[in-house]
Symmetry: C2
Subunit: 464 residues, 2 copies
């Protein structure tokens, strides 16, 4: 995988916007950027309840002078009471503000049908990727001279693979099968393990559920199989579950690895090493800019936990406002609370918008000749396959680009639409994809699909 | 250095507070914690201007309904305009929001008498320590099989040494001389370099100015000497300058390494590799909980810069509210702005409080038999030496504690005051110290000194 092809496109967006401001004529007024999994960038609005509590914690005086729902004031007061010196400007404990960590543990246990969750196994961190990096770090450093391998899905979002390779570890790719709706198959995991022989020592298996960039949602059965495989091969399981609230398929349901592990009972439930990640950036709240997530560790050796604690210690904890957002995400307003009606309305609006967007995107994509998209069961992205004409592939070679980057580059120039090429994530040799975020207002999704349709039709004509 | 002796004390604070709540009689009502360099924890108030702008950015609706100074509204509006999708909940660019990075560069250039500063050399990060870790990472990984060494002051605050050793690097200690007001001496740097022979390959020199835990402020002359030494020995210079606003001595002035380097001219100014760190956590703003700082890199090899960019890429940028705080810190209200009078009053109050605290702390400390403190020219801490009686040292051995931890433990139990033992930071063999934060309201500083005096008098009597 050659990273940063996307970076070149992103840089070009800034140039185009400058050209537009300078009056250069283009068939669009502004670039639409749906390359990120970032709801606010894509135009969704923050949740009022979340922002009210955060603003009240930052500047309590302001709150006294305006009308805010009583539960917002109470929540802010309680949360400020948990901050040292009553200020969100104070450092917090290494694993996070203890009472918030406790409430995250209670959330996990409720989510997982009562399976116990212990605060001492949880670390709140500046983003879930940051916690993942720390665990990669432990896995890499605990090895001797042989290089550490981590089984990693292909396709896979870039931040994780960057973190891995940045530490000198080897990414051992396992392909998820597009034809099977991007499901993880144990056969492919076995193949990956075989491929690592003589190259590195695989110690962990990284899974993303719901998927990113491909929007699968794993069934309980599929998770059981993966757990059995990881257990048999003695692999540490890393479960990236940051899109757990984003499930769109009627038949799909998010089930956590932790829950399945608990339900499988011994020996799995008391031996399988698992790290599960969640984040305040994803889901309906979408507060990426606050930089906060958590990891829960299960069955991890006490000596490793101690070393991990040292790693988490060196950065003085997660942003306090992010921790507060995590408290609100895991403990939202309940029916009967003054904030509940508005909170419920806003989250339901977002949810119905996103379900609608996914439906519309699939309708349009699968009606375009040359496009083919698997169902988007969950997550924030459509990841359709494009069958590029031979002439387009030839042209891409001539200009020194990968074929799907060439497609995305033309899409950006001609239609003012920024999406990411599949080569950024890894894909089966000879297949091409694009990824775009479906977390936008409806009107923007329609404009995205309109620009894509019109560009694609012309592109296929030009290169047929 | 054995870390975490302090952690045991901190844990004990929570137990004591619980005992107090349960009605256990103690000679104090609550524990005073001056072990952190955290102004809000220690009781100082956030700056109104900063909190107003941050709250306005988080929840613009709230701001419309209350009276806020017009420059606060304008500033919030301008800053929100720089955020993707107009929300602080969006991701930002890897090195930070470009316009804020630009303004940080302008601040540096103003501060350094016009020496140029380039945005492409600056990274905003979730705390300055985080940026420091990334640079340590590069230094460690760019070495082959021999272990990487970094010359590190003794005493030195713990987060940096943890980050270093966590990466498998070797801390090469150089002692700063207490008798010379904790000044850095080239002779000691040379000794340190000698001591590393056959142990590791020293590639960098880490300096802290103003100091932490010891409160020296380096003169321009001293900085010149250190730069010459680092240049001659081909060491990468890491300058931790997070306390640059905190200078208390009449005769002292903060001068940045960058400025001195620029003024020295070639060959130093165009070859010496330098990283300089600053933070929104320190100084009068004291917003530790927002987690934001920056590093400026000078003369760093483009290949290294590229690798560094990858490291900074893997964590999706710094918290946006922290970046905004950094913008406010580097571009505070100016005379004539509606917010200026209050801003000026608040910062001047804090400054005069801290100057007063330092003066009072030194008066009291140096009047106590067995205590001796060098002047506190800058930074957030007093770091006096204690001459412990032989009987106290003997008793400490019996209970399995280091002597100054034993002292701090008794101080906590008997007087309800948490300070940090010098052994946490490293100190010359056979010397003992305590560190406490001077960034408190005056009334708390008086109570700290009262508790310390009364405890110390009894302690010396008990062990004489």
């Amino acid at each position: 995988m050659k990273p940063y092809e996307y970076a070149i496109l992103a840089r070009r967006v800034r140039q185009i916007n400058q050209e537009l401001r300078q009056g250069v004529e283009k068939p669009y007024n502004e670039v639409i950027d749906v390359s990120w999994g970032d709801p606010h960038t894509a135009g969704l609005k923050p949740l009022s309840f979340v922002r009210q509590v955060l603003a009240a914690c930052l500047y309590p005086q302001l709150v006294d002078s305006v009308k805010l729902p009583v539960d917002v004031r109470q929540r802010a007061q309680r949360l400020l009471g948990l901050c040292e010196g009553g200020s969100v400007g104070s450092y917090s404990a290494i694993r996070g503000i203890p009472e918030i960590v406790q409430r995250v543990a209670e959330f996990i246990s409720r989510r997982d049908g009562g399976a116990p969750s212990y605060p001492e196994n949880i670390y709140i961190s500046p983003g879930s990727q940051w916690a993942l990096s720390n665990i990669f770090n432990i896995l890499v450093n605990s090895q001797g001279s042989s290089r550490t391998g981590v089984l990693t899905p292909v396709p896979c979002h870039v931040t994780s693979t960057l973190a891995l390779t940045g530490l000198g570890a080897v990414m051992v790719p396992y392909y998820v099968s597009e034809e099977e709706g991007w499901q993880i198959q144990v056969e492919k995991l076995n193949q990956a393990l075989e491929s690592a022989k003589g190259v590195c020592n695989p110690v962990a298996l990284y899974v993303i559920n719901p998927g990113n960039p491909s929007g699968y949602v794993q069934s309980k059965k599929s998770i059981q199989k993966v757990i059995r495989f990881a257990s048999e091969k003695r692999l540490f399981l890393l479960a990236d579950e940051v899109y757990q609230d984003c499930v769109w398929g009627d038949q799909s349901e998010f089930v956590s690895y932790k829950r399945v592990l608990a339900e499988m009972g011994p020996p799995f439930s008391d031996t399988m090493e698992l790290a599960s990640f969640h984040s305040a950036s994803k889901g309906f709240m979408g507060e990426c800019g606050l930089r906060c997530g958590y990891v829960e560790l299960v069955n991890v050796d006490p000596a490793v936990m101690k070393h991990l604690h040292q790693l988490f210690s060196k950065d003085s904890g997660a942003p306090v406002l992010g921790q507060i957002a995590l408290d609100l995400m895991t403990n939202p307003p309940q029916p009967g609370d003054p904030s509940y009606p508005l909170y419920n309305e806003e989250t339901q609006n977002i949810k119905s918008t996103l379900v609608h967007n996914v439906k519309r995107a699939l309708e349009v994509l699968n009606s375009l000749p040359g496009f083919c998209s698997q169902p988007v069961e969950g997550g924030a992205f459509a990841f359709p396959r494009i069958h590029l004409p031979a002439k387009a592939i030839q042209k891409a070679k001539e200009v020194g680009m990968r074929p799907d980057t060439f497609y995305c580059s033309r899409l950006l120039e001609e239609a003012g639409l920024l999406v990411t090429p599949g080569c950024e994530y890894g894909q089966k040799e000879g297949t091409y994809h694009i990824r775009f975020c479906i977390m936008t207002p409806k009107v923007i999704m329609e404009e995205v699909l309109k620009r894509l349709t019109s560009f694609h039709t012309q592109f296929m004509k030009d290169f047929s």
